[in-house]
Amino acid sequence: MSNLLIPNPKEAESIHIIREVAAQFERPVLLFSGGKDSITLVRLAQKAFYPAKIPFPLLHVDTGHNFPETIEFRDKLVEELGLELIVRNVQDSIDQGKVREERGRYSSRNSLQTTTLLDAIEEFKFDACIGGARRDEEKARAKERVFSVRDDFGQWDEKNQRPELFDMLNGKIHVGQNVRCFPISNWTELDVWEYIKTENIEIPSIYFAHEREVFFRDGMIWTANEHVYREAHEEVELRMVRFRTVGDMTCTAAVLSEAVSLDDVVGEIRESTISERGARIDDKRSEAAMETRKKVGYF
C-alpha cells in the first residue's frame, strides 16, 4: 500500500471529466480511432471506473483505409478489457449514396467520416461522444470547449459556445443535441507520449520505426499502397519510418525515424521541429481547413 497520493494534475482533470460524462449523460460513447490519443483515453476511462468496467461502448468509424496493425490492435484491446465495440463503415455510407468517394491526387475518406459518424449518433441515440482531441493540435482547436454542444446536424458554432468556469461542466442539452467531450483537451503531444511511457501503455506497432514502401510528395512521406492515389512519376522507396499520428492512410504522413522504443519516441518528440498536425495531409489543404471541417460536424 503506497502512502500519499500526489496527483498528476492533467490526469486527475481528465478522470474528473470522464466521470462527469458518465454521470451527466444517458448514452455516452467513446470515439476510438486506434490512435495514441484514443488509447490514452481508454486508459483514463479504466482509471475513472476501476474496479468496474468502462460503462460505455467504443465506436470506431472505419474508413476502410486503416492500417491493418491498428485494426488488429483495436480488437485485441477490446477483448482484453472486455469492452463493447461498435464499428460503422464509411464504405456503407458510400454504398448508400450519402457521400461520394473523392478522386485524384489528394483524395481521402477522412472528411467522409462525418456522415457515418452522424448516422451512428442517430442510430444509437448517443448524447455524448468522447474524443481524444487536444487543444495544442491546431489553432482552431485551441478554443474548443471540454463539453462542446452540437446541434442536430453536428454543427459547431464557435461564436456561441458555453463559457467553462473552474471545473464545472454543463452538459445539459435538448433532445436532438449532443455533446462532444474532450477529456485530454489540456494535454500536449509530449504529455501523451510521456504518459504512455510512464504508464507502459501498449500502442500499435506503426508508431515505432519500421520498413515501409513509401513515396515522397510535397515534402511529405506517403504510404504506397492501393488506397493512396499515386502518379506514375512518384517513385516507391523502402524507408525506415514511423507515424506520429494514426488516421486514415490517405491523410497520415510518415516521418523518417529510427525510434524503436518508447524512450526513443519520447526523445524524438522532445527534439522534434515539425508539429504533429504537420504530418496530417488534410490540414495542409488550407490554413482554415480544420475550422471549416469542424463547422460541418467533423470531429
Binding site: L5, K10, Y50, A52, F166, I274
Partner: protein
C-alpha cells in the same frame, strides 16, 4: 507523466493591441515551442501582410473571423513547457465588453499577466483587468509593461506606471508581494526570456524566469478537505461484490484512511475504509486527486452529496448571497429561476434581490434591477434545497457556482459566494 514537471496556469489580460498575442507568441518562440512548420506559416503570413518583422500574434489568433478582423474574440488555450515547468496560458481578449472572457480564463488560472502599453500607461481597462484578478483571487499578478522599445526603454516611464498601479493595489485585497512589475518588449523579446541589455536599470527576473520560480503549492492556499461525490462505482462482479466506491475529485485538504467523516446532506457519520486510485490502494490523498473512497458503514450517499471531515463542516443554507458575473446575453432579473450548479451538484435557484451593480474600477457600487452581459453585481438567491458551501475566499471550488438557463440550458452566470 511530464517527468514531474510542475504545472503553472496563467491568464493574460490587456486591452486590444497591448500585445498579448505577441507576448504569448514570443514565449512560445523563445522556449522553442513553435515548430518549423508553424514558424514557416508565421513567416508566410507576415510577408503576405507586408510586415518587415515576424508577427507572433499569428501563432495564437486561431479562428477565421479573428484572422480576418485581426482581433482575438474568444479564450484560447496555449501550451508550452521548459525543462522544469508545464505552462497553460489562457489568452483572453481585452475589449470592454469581454469581461466574460477574462473571468472565464482567470477561473482556471493561478497567475495573471496584465499587459500595459508603455505609451498609454494605466488606463480604465487596466482597472477592470485588475479588478477581475482581485475578484477571482488570483494568487499572483505580473504587470508586464510592454512596448518599452517605443518609449526608448525609459526607466521614468516604467516608474510612473508602477506608481500609478501601486495606487490600485492599495484599493485591492492584494498584498505587494503578490504583484511583480516587469518592463518588456514582446516584439523584440526584451526581458521575455532574455535579460534586456537595453534596460540595464531593471535588475529583476525576466518574465520567463519569474514564471518558472513560482511554486504551484504557494499559488493554491490549502484549506479544509471537501469531497463532492461525482459518481458511485458499483462493479457488481464476483470479485468486487460489495464494493461501493464514491468517486470524485478532492479539494482543499488531504483525506486519509481512518478519517472520521460526515456526509452531507444526511449528517450521517462514518469512517474512511479505503482510498483507491485505479488499481492501487493508498493511505492518503492530496488535493486535486481523482480518487474513489469506500466507507466503513453502509450509508446513503450519491452524486451531488459531499463528504467532509467531521468537525470541519461547511455552511449549509437555502439562502445565499453571492457576487455574480453575467456571462451571457440574457439579463439576470429579480424573480428569475435558474438551475444552480455548485461543483457537481444541481439545485433550483430563484433571484430574490439584486442588491447592486459593482463598478469594476474600484469606485463602489450602484443600485440595479438587472445584470446584463459583463455586469458584476451582488445578488441574493433562494434555493430549492440547501447547498453545502464555503466562502469563495476560503475555498475557491466550494465557494463558486454557475447558473444555467432553465429553458435554453446555456451557462449564463458565474457566482462567488460570500
Amino acid at each position: 507523466m511530464s517527468e514531474n514537471r510542475k504545472l503553472i496556469k496563467i491568464a493574460t489580460a490587456g486591452s486590444v493591441d497591448d500585445g498579448k498575442s505577441t507576448l504569448i507568441g514570443r514565449l512560445l518562440y523563445d522556449t522553442k515551442s513553435l515548430t518549423t512548420d508553424k514558424i514557416e506559416a508565421i513567416e508566410r503570413s507576415s510577408k503576405q501582410r507586408g510586415y518587415d518583422y515576424l508577427d507572433f500574434s499569428l501563432a495564437t489568433d486561431g479562428l477565421v473571423a479573428e484572422r480576418e478582423q485581426g482581433i482575438t474574440i474568444d479564450v484560447a488555450h496555449i501550451y508550452f513547457n521548459t525543462a522544469k515547468t508545464n505552462f497553460i496560458v489562457a489568452d483572453t481578449p481585452g475589449h470592454v465588453e469581454y469581461t466574460r472572457n477574462m473571468v472565464t480564463g482567470a477561473s482556471t488560472s493561478q497567475v495573471a499577466i496584465i499587459l500595459i502599453d508603455a505609451r498609454k500607461g494605466v488606463i480604465e481597462q487596466t482597472y477592470r483587468h485588475f479588478f477581475i484578478a482581485n475578484l477571482l483571487r488570483i494568487s499572483h499578478v505580473v504587470v508586464a509593461i510592454n512596448k518599452m522599445d517605443l518609449v526608448n526603454y525609459d526607466e521614468e516611464v516604467y516608474l510612473k506606471i508602477k506608481a500609478d498601479f501601486d495606487e490600485l493595489v492599495a484599493k485591492s485585497d492584494f498584498s505587494e508581494d503578490q504583484i511583480t512589475f516587469i518592463p518588456v518588449s514582446a516584439l523584440k523579446g526584451e526581458n521575455i526570456a532574455r535579460q534586456s541589455e537595453e534596460m540595464p536599470w531593471y535588475v529583476g527576473n525576466t518574465l520567463l524566469d519569474h514564471l518558472e520560480v513560482l511554486e504551484p503549492a504557494d499559488l493554491e492556499p490549502s484549506s479544509v478537505a471537501r469531497f463532492p461525490v461525482q459518481y458511485v462505482i458499483r462493479p457488481k462482479t464476483e470479485a468486487w461484490h460489495d464494493f461501493r466506491g464514491f468517486s470524485g475529485m478532492l479539494y482543499g485538504g488531504n483525506l486519509k484512511v481512518g478519517d472520521e467523516v460526515t456526509l452531507l446532506p444526511s449528517l450521517n457519520t462514518s469512517k474512511i475504509k479505503s482510498i483507491h486510485y485505479f488499481d492501487q490502494e493508498i493511505q492518503e490523498a492530496a488535493p486535486g486527486s481523482s480518487i474513489a473512497i469506500t466507507l466503513e458503514t453502509e450509508v446513503d450517499l450519491s452524486r451531488g452529496d459531499m463528504l467532509v471531515k467531521s468537525g470541519e463542516l461547511p455552511s449549509s443554507e437555502k439562502q445565499i448571497s453571492a457576487t455574480i458575473c453575467q456571462v451571457n446575453n440574457k439579463a439576470l432579473t429579480v424573480g428569475k429561476k435558474y438551475i444552480l450548479q455548485h461543483g457537481v451538484n444541481r439545485v433550483l435557484a430563484k433571484v430574490d434581490q439584486i442588491e447592486s451593480r459593482i463598478h469594476t474600477d474600484f469606485t463602489g457600487a450602484e443600485d440595479a434591477h438587472s445584470l446584463k452581459l459583463n455586469d458584476i453585481g451582488r445578488v441574493h438567491f433562494r434555493l430549492s434545497k440547501p447547498i453545502h458551501f464555503d466562502s469563495y475566499k476560503s475555498n475557491k471550488s466550494n465557494g463558486s457556482f454557475i447558473l444555467i438557463d432553465e429553458a435554453e440550458y446555456d451557462t449564463v452566470s458565474v457566482g462567488f459566494i460570500e
